[in-house]
Symmetry: C2
Subunit: 90 residues, 2 copies
Amino acid sequence: MNITPETIGYIAALLTTSSFLPQAVKTIRTRDTHSLSLGMYGIFTLGVFLWLVYGICLADKAIIFANAVTFVLAGAILSYKIYNTLCSKE
Amino acid sequence: MNITPETIGYIAALLTTSSFLPQAVKTIRTRDTHSLSLGMYGIFTLGVFLWLVYGICLADKAIIFANAVTFVLAGAILSYKIYNTLCSKE
C-alpha cells in the first residue's frame, strides 16, 4: 500500500472533522457543558463558518462537506453552552 | 479593502487554531474535564498530528505552524482528561 501525503491529509481531515461527533453526542445526551469553554466554541464555530465560506468561494466540495458537518456539530455544542450560561445552570 | 478567498482562509485558520487556547487555559486552571469527551480529544489530537505530518511532507510552514500549536493545546487537554479518567476523578 502506497501512502502519499494526500492520503495522510484525507485521513487527518476525516479524523479532525469526525472528532466533534462524540463530543456533540455526549453534550446532547448529558446537557453538561460545565468544563467546556464558551470562548473556544464561539471562536471555533465562527472559524468553521469562514472555512465553509472559503470552500464555497473555491467551489471545493471536500472543504464544503467537511466544514458543513463540523459547523452543525460545533454549533449544537455551542448552543447548549450558551443556553446553560444564560440560564445560569453553571 | 479587498477580501479575497485567501484572506477568508487565513482568518478561518487563525480562528480554528487559536480557539483551543481558551479551552486549554480553562482546563489547566480548573483541572475539570468532566464534560469533555475523551473520544473527541483522542481522535482530534491524532488527526492534528497527521495534519502536522502532512505539512512536514509538503514542507508547508503555515500548516506545520498551525498544527504544531493546536497539537500542543489539544495534547495538554487530552492529558488532563486521561489523567482524570484513569485516576477515577470523574
